[in-house]
């Protein structure tokens, strides 16, 4: 196959490319330039120093060095306009609307497995290889997306937005890796200098990892009240935007709770500019509603027992699909077997059947099960 390997400059995508080469594919490496500086041109190291992220000049150089070692052609493609519009602006707009988006999910949906994959296919490639820890497995109805063998590293969650025709074009050589250290030692054996490069964690376009400060420069804020679940004002905040359900830090409440227990954000309202705080158990929800469903393969039916994952590294919770999308409707509802703590609108709900990714939807609401 002709394979385009997306190379971020990190160890995972370098080893993924190496495995694609070793498997006998004709591989071309590509690094995506995603960030732009103030002048609207692609960031240059000397003018916009950025110590981290997935798109710095250093990362491009690391990716290029890995491609050199693998002996494959390498290019840098500028997808910064798409990234700015579909990921960064979307991220800001979602927060401004009081939701909590996952930009990595959005990037896979709109940039890597959309703009990049479309271009790769048009240019004559058969597949796009990435360093995600997930597996594409041949199933009866076509390729299926599954969790990685190493559950600790599994990243199928951020790929759960891919429809079947996109899954079919994904080559995920790290899905069978035993563990991260195996990937690092393989990188060392292959002479890849990125073998010991630290993993990236934070949002790549937020330079110092301080998302709230970054957002506050982009979304107008006004002071408002922090209230408890009974509606009593217990403090104030600099703007409801940027607070996330489940958040504990940064509340700065003057007086402690009557029972002295920690308080969490249990709800935010951008419309009323209020932040509601409560005890940990006030965060517990059993029923999650979500919209914008994408199925990765065959659609499940109402009443099916599935697994639900609500965060990139969150635990899977058993659930039942209590409302499935109907004609002209792309929303669903699941009832969780055990309560989940701190579910915010905007989060991605990924659904599993065993290790198979069934699909995903964007959380629109969550509540305790009153029938219980």
């Amino acid at each position: 196959m002709r394979v385009l390997a997306a190379m971020s400059g990190g160890v995972d995508s370098a080893v993924a490319a190496a495995r694609a080469v070793a498997a006998g594919h004709e591989v071309v490496g590509v690094h995506l330039a995603l960030s732009r500086d103030e002048r609207g041109t692609t960031a240059r190291a000397s003018r916009s120093p950025r110590g981290r992220g997935c798109c710095t000049a250093d990362d491009a150089r690391d990716a290029r060095r890995s491609a050199d070692v693998l002996g494959i052609p390498f290019y840098v493609w500028d997808l910064s306009e798409r990234f700015a519009a579909d990921v960064v602006e979307d991220f800001v707009a979602e927060y401004a609307a009081g939701r909590t988006p996952n930009p990595c999910v959005r990037c896979n949906e709109k940039v890597k497995f959309s703009a990049l994959l479309d271009r790769a296919l048009a240019l004559g490639f058969d597949a796009l290889a990435t360093g995600h820890y997930a597996r594409v497995v041949a199933g009866l109805d076509g390729p299926e997306l599954h969790r990685a063998r190493d559950a600790a590293k599994d990243q199928s969650y951020v790929l759960s937005v891919l429809p079947p025709e996109r899954v079919a074009r994904a080559l995920l050589p790290l899905g069978d890796a035993e563990a991260k250290h195996e990937v690092r030692s393989e990188a060392r054996e292959r002479g890849l200098a990125v073998a010991d490069k630290p993993d990236s964690h934070d949002i790549c376009f937020v330079p110092d990892g301080d998302t709230r400060t970054w957002l506050s420069a982009r979304i107008p804020r006004r002071r408002g009240a922090v209230v408890d679940t009974a509606g009593r004002v217990v403090g104030d905040h600099g703007g409801a935007v940027g607070f996330t359900v489940g958040q504990r830090r940064g509340l700065r409440l003057g007086e402690p709770a009557a029972d002295g227990r920690p308080r969490y954000v249990v709800a935010t309202s951008v419309a009323d500019n209020t932040v509601t705080v409560g005890a940990a158990e006030d965060l517990d929800v059993d029923v999650v509603a979500a919209g914008g469903v994408t199925w990765c393969g065959p659609a499940p039916r109402r009443g099916d027992a599935l697994g639900a994952q609500l965060r990139a590294h969150g635990a899977e919770i058993g659930c039942v699909l209590v409302a499935a999308p109907g004609p002209g409707d792309d929303s669903l509802r699941v009832r969780l077997g055990t309560p989940a703590r701190g579910v915010a609108a905007g989060q991605t709900l990924a659904l599993y059947d065993g290790t198979r990714v069934v699909g995903s939807a964007t959380v629109t609401g969550a509540r305790p099960d009153r029938s219980r």
Binding site: H31, A33, P73, D78, E81, A85, D118, L123
Partner: protein, 395 residues
């Protein structure tokens, strides 16, 4: 088999230059030392300097050897600015064409950002030729406050030759010094420093069949220049640093050989370039050829085109995969071709500029290279068009 059509980026060293450099690499010697080894190195350097001077119509004493074209451009722009301002603090304006290479462009911008220079970018017409009337108007408005003028001899992206003689004449009326980046012109056009009336002219080794990392600033006798590099005081204090005798030997040889061959070689390349453009037009009728349609107004070996509906880096990849090496023409930042400031200055809309390709011919180019491009380009453009302008916003 690779068809190398990117000689404007760098051209292979001439065998004569390789021989001259190899010979010198086996000797030691610091050209500044007073002993026998030093004298030997010094002699090589001076003979090579004379070769450069001889080839380009200047005196040996006017050749300041540098570590390349970028350094020479920085030395000219910053050095002239500093010395002119030191002589008269009112002289803070820099007039430069909007289509300069980044080595001039960014040096001028730096002066604006860090040295309080008032920068005036001189506009160009649709083929990329600088507007001399605009220059005259700027000089008339403030000759006493102008530190220098910098206008390249010929443009590295679209190949348009600049009216250097007119620029020099206009500036001379006001006694303002003129620098010209002639990196692309030397070896392709008749470059005679004395006849040009320029005060400073940039030469690069690796664009003329010489080595990478070697170049020169031709600096008219009597022109005062503040150094950028301070140190051992070599090159009469204008450019410190131990002279690289092997590279200088190769630079001198390349200058001599390339300039001597120029008339025949330029005619050969012009013919090849016309064949290349004809092949492109035949295979891809919608290509737009940029630069001056008049052969007298452009470099003989550069063909710059834009391909509607295609992304430059898709075209580059697809051609590379078929063994055809070329460039989008504009500078790269971390591997990404920047939107071309040259095409923008020429008034080319951004969506058209994205499909830019520059083919540049040189001493190793043959009809086989053109044939390879002709064979590849049709399917490449078809495929690149399918890929489309994917980086454009979808909304």
């Amino acid at each position: 088999m690779t068809a190398y059509l990117d000689h404007a980026a760098t051209t292979p060293m001439l065998p004569e230059a390789v021989a001259a450099m190899s010979e010198q690499l086996s000797f030691g010697g610091n050209a500044s030392s007073l002993h026998t080894s030093g004298r030997r190195a010094r002699r090589v350097v001076e003979e090579s300097r004379e070769q450069v001077a001889d080839a380009l119509g200047c005196r040996a004493g006017e050749v300041v050897l540098t570590g390349g074209g970028t350094e020479a451009d920085n030395l000219a722009v910053k050095g002239l600015f500093w010395s002119r301002r030191a002589a008269d603090p009112r002289r803070t304006r820099v007039l430069a064409s909007a289509v300069e290479h980044h080595a001039v462009l960014d040096a001028v911008e730096w002066l604006g950002e860090h040295e309080g220079a008032e920068v005036v970018w001189l506009p160009v017409d649709a083929v990329g030729r600088v507007d001399v009337d605009a220059l005259r108007a700027e000089l008339a408005a403030g000759a006493g406050t102008t530190a220098l003028v910098s206008v390249m001899w010929a443009n590295n992206e679209v190949g348009t030759v600049q009216p250097v003689a007119e620029v020099v004449a206009a500036a001379a009326e006001h006694g303002v010094p003129v620098h010209s980046d002639a990196v692309q012109a030397v070896g392709a056009l008749d470059v005679d420093f004395a006849a040009s009336g320029l005060d400073a002219l940039t030469v690069s080794g690796h664009k003329i069949g010489g080595p990478l990392g070697a170049g020169a600033l031709l600096l008219r006798r009597g022109v005062d220049l503040e150094p950028v590099l301070h140190g051992g005081g070599q090159e009469r204090g204008v450019r410190s640093g131990t002279l690289d005798a092997p590279s200088v030997a190769a630079l001198g040889t390349a200058a001599q050989v390339t300039v001597a061959r120029r008339p025949a070689e330029a005619a050969r390349l012009a013919e090849l370039r016309d064949a290349l453009v004809a092949a492109l037009r035949d295979r891809v009728p919608e290509v737009v050829v940029r630069g001056d349609p008049d052969p007298a107004g452009r470099l003989p070996g550069i063909a710059h085109v834009t391909v509607p509906g295609c992304e430059g880096d898709s075209l580059l990849y697809l051609l590379d995969a078929r063994g055809v090496e070329c460039s989008t023409g504009s500078a790269c930042r971390a591997g990404v071709p920047e939107p071309s400031h040259v095409l923008a200055a020429m008034g080319v809309p951004p969506h058209e500029a994205r499909g830019a390709l520059r083919f540049s011919l040189g001493h190793t180019s043959t009809g086989a290279d053109v044939a390879a491009l002709a064979a590849a380009v049709g399917p490449v453009v078809e495929r690149a068009r399918t890929a489309g302008l994917t980086t454009a916003r979808t909304a």
